[in-house]
């Protein structure tokens, strides 16, 4: 039974972290442009010459 005194706070703490992360992501505009994010992965970055020497 004494395990509960650790496990319950840990469970609640982890849930709270998830909730706070979601709030942070919303405030940070992570959900502003979902379609754009899906498309941006297809953009080639080859123009940034000094960063990606090949």
């Amino acid at each position: 039974m004494s395990g509960l005194t650790f496990l319950i706070p840990i469970a609640l703490f982890m849930g709270a972290i998830g909730l706070l992360t979601f709030f942070w992501a919303m405030r940070n505009g992570q959900f502003e442009d979902l379609d754009g994010a899906a498309n941006r992965i297809l953009i080639d970055e080859e123009d940034d010459e000094e960063e990606t020497p090949r």
Partner: protein, 717 residues
């Protein structure tokens, strides 16, 4: 545009290097390549410090210093190959904050639900004594803030309804949640056996999921419509006393100002033409008439008209609320009020449902009291009745079906503004269609059959240099044929008459031709040879199948147009419909009222500003994406592209959606019929309530998902 001579710079932005943000809507971006092209292309311009595309909203936000203004950015985007328009705030997107609020509430409810469920499972599994009490206390500590935070949307809406002595879906929800929380608190304090915290929070979670879906759908379609808005001139170039020009937004114009209206620009205010210029104006937004009107010095011009020819000077006589457009806006406001009286199906259900459930719970309490069960047990049973009958499935039934249907419609180029619009679309039984821009494309398309390849190539080279709508039509048609422009020199545009140039030493020109009846035409001159190019405004390619599809749903169509009677009659005969021509906005309204009084539910499809009041008054309305801003805002739905079929598709999908909603309601009622006797008998434990609630929600959502394919693979064929 004489951009670098910013005449009266704002003192605040005088300092070099002050950065400002401009938002532009770019409806044409479609792929990852467009994002990269726009962001890189704008980033290379001197004075731009950052450009960020929002692909979902089809917008780009540009941070730049004061050397650049809106027009420069629009020009830059045009060079990149995108039509763009600077935007103020999107008037439709104001409820964005609501969606975020709902999502936060949903996240909090989800967090609470999962953790409370953790403890509830232990309690159901047999925890008792001090462990159970502790779990109840922790649940209470989680549930109280969660209910207080996540329940707010329901509580405030229920309060609002009660204040006006009405009831809506939120009243039984709020009462159920508050009573369940209160009773569970009592149980916790007294070390009782059952606590309903999980039920209360789960109820909030499922209902919030429905609300959040509803709000997201509204936001998505409105962002789509917002991207189409703002193509019409909301600002004007005003000529300063010193001869320079300055961009002034429409609401800051004053009578007496002198506007310079460029070719292709819309007038932002009523006025009188000055100078020796002769202007040709496209009044189709106001009247539906497709033939341009010629106005000479001293002639009156109205806001919303588009200048087709050379730039003209217009002295502003009336602005804002005094313009001819404002009269139409007033009609629209009045007409829209009848629609706001429409009661959504969920609230209609609540009107019957809420009193039934509340009296049932009261009866249960009274019955058990009489049977001698004691007030505590009677109260527990009454609350169990409230929780088990809480319209969880009902709260999801409507939004789930509508969201799935509206996503299916978006894929077919139809943006429905909200759920209420879908409900009303499903009920229409007669259709009224505008002609210009609705049945037809609303753009002049040239008849190029009589031209030789070399003539075509010269025409293209000449037309490319002009922003006149007829020239644009020529360029579009010739580019589509794969014609390459001929090399020209000495190109000059004569104001109001045409474009001339030299091709291999021969003078060539596109000139204004005399109007041949209702037909628009231009003349191509090469040396001494003169050739007339006729333009017409073709019907949308699938008008007939779309009208047939509507007829197949039992919806008869009538043409209701502001264009001349003979033109309307010809089109109507061609399509085998009834047609009414020369209808003013008030006439259209009157016709709609007649239909409404006869008990019909008309669907209005129109694009012009003159259709605005009718769009607002009709039982349901649809506008094409090329329609005026006001019309798109008045309409329930907007369809994009050349095809008319989305109109028929909208009706079909709306009807199927309502069928699914009714099935969902049917299921919710059947579920209640089974569950209420158990609750009345006092046999509902928190475990049973939780299982029943989740199960009914899943069934409703699953049933609604069937609508995903409702629009079909290739439209309503």
């Amino acid at each position: 545009m004489t951009a670098p001579t910013a005449p009266f710079p704002d003192p605040a932005t005088m300092e070099h290097g002050t950065l400002s943000d401009t938002r532009l809507t770019v409806p044409g971006m479609r792929c990852a390549g467009c994002i990269a092209k726009i962001e890189r292309g704008l980033g290379e311009i001197e004075g731009v410090s950052a450009a960020r595309v929002n692909f979902s909203a089809k917008r780009v936000a540009v941070r730049h210093d004061d050397r650049l203004d809106d027009d420069d950015l629009v020009d830059a985007l045009r060079h990149l190959g995108f039509e763009a328009q600077a935007v103020a705030d999107n008037p439709l997107a104001q409820d964005k904050g609501d969606t975020k609020q709902l999502l936060r509430a949903l996240a909090v409810a989800g967090f609470g639900m999962m953790n409370i469920m953790l403890f509830s499972v232990s309690v159901w599994a047999g925890a008792d004594g001090i462990t159970r009490d502790m779990f109840h206390w922790i649940s209470a500590l989680i549930a109280l803030p969660v209910v207080a935070y996540s329940g707010r949307p329901f509580f405030s809406s229920a309060l609002m309804a009660l204040r006006y002595r009405r009831t809506n879906m939120d009243v039984p929800i709020s009462i159920g949640v508050l009573l369940a929380t209160g009773l569970s608190l009592y149980e916790t304090f007294t070390g009782g056996e059952h606590a309903f915290f999980d039920g209360a929070v789960m109820l909030l979670f499922f209902l919030l999921a429905g609300r959040a879906l509803d709000a997201t759908m509204r936001e998505k379609t409105r962002a789509g419509i917002g991207a189409l808005l703002g193509r019409m001139g909301r600002s004007a170039s005003v000529i300063q006393p010193d001869g320079s020009t300055r961009r002034v937004s429409a609401d800051k114009l004053e009578p007496g100002m002198l506007m310079l209206v460029a070719a292709g620009e819309a007038l932002a205010a009523d006025g009188v033409v000055e100078g020796e210029a002769e202007a040709a104006l496209d009044n189709s937004m106001l009247t539906g008439e497709s033939t341009p009107e010629t106005v000479t010095t001293g002639g009156k011009v109205h806001a919303g008209a588009i200048n087709l020819m050379a730039p003209v000077h217009v002295r502003v006589t009336a602005v804002g609320g005094d313009t001819a457009i404002a009269e139409i806006a007033r009609l629209m406001d009045e007409a829209g009020q009848s629609r706001s009286r429409y009661v959504r199906i969920a609230d209609r259900a609540a009107r019957l449902y809420a009193p039934a459930v509340h009296s049932l719970a009261a009866l249960a309490f009274a019955g058990w009291m009489i049977a001698g069960a004691g007030w505590y047990q009677s109260l527990v049973i009454a609350i169990a009745v409230l929780i088990i009958t809480c319209p969880c499935a009902m709260g999801l039934a409507v939004p789930a079906a509508q969201v799935v249907a509206s996503n299916a419609l978006i894929r077919h180029g139809l943006l429905v503004k909200d759920g209420s619009a879908l409900e009303r679309l499903a009920e229409v039984d007669v259709a009224l269609l505008d002609k210009t821009g609705t049945l037809t494309l609303g753009e002049p398309r040239p008849d190029l059959s009589g031209l030789s390849p070399i003539q075509k190539s010269i025409t293209l080279a000449l037309a490319q240099t002009s922003r006149h709508p007829l020239s644009k039509g020529l360029v579009a048609a010739l580019t589509a044929e794969g014609i390459a422009p001929a090399p020209l020199s000495d190109i000059s545009e004569w104001s109001g008459h045409g474009i001339s140039a030299l091709h291999a030493g021969t003078p060539v020109a596109i000139e204004r031709a005399e109007h041949a009846g209702a037909v628009m035409a231009s003349a191509l001159r090469i040396g001494d040879e003169r050739k007339i190019i006729r333009f017409h405004d073709p019907l949308r390619p699938d008008v007939r199948p779309a009208l047939n599809a509507l007829a197949g749903f039992g919806i008869a169509s009538t043409i209701l147009s502001g264009d001349r009677k003979d033109v309307v009659a010809a089109t109507a005969r061609d399509l085998g419909l009834d047609g009414l021509g020369a209808q003013s906005p008030a006439d259209k309204l009157a016709r709609l009222r007649e239909l409404a009084e006869a008990g019909r539910r008309p669907l209005m499809v129109g694009d012009g500003l003159n259709d605005g009041p009718a769009l607002a008054a009709a039982h349901a309305s649809i506008a094409p994406g090329t329609a005026s801003d006001a019309s798109q805002q008045a309409a329930d739905a907007v369809f994009i592209g050349d095809r008319l079929m989305p109109v028929a598709l909208a009706v079909r999908v709306a009807r199927r959606t309502m069928a699914v909603v009714r099935q969902n309601f049917g299921f919710a009622i059947a579920y209640n019929v089974c569950a209420i006797p158990l609750a009345l008998a006092g046999m509902v434990t928190p475990l049973l309530a939780a299982i029943a609630m989740s199960l009914s929600s899943l069934v409703v959502v699953g049933n609604s998902l069937r609508l995903a394919g409702a629009a079909g693979k290739d439209g309503a064929k």
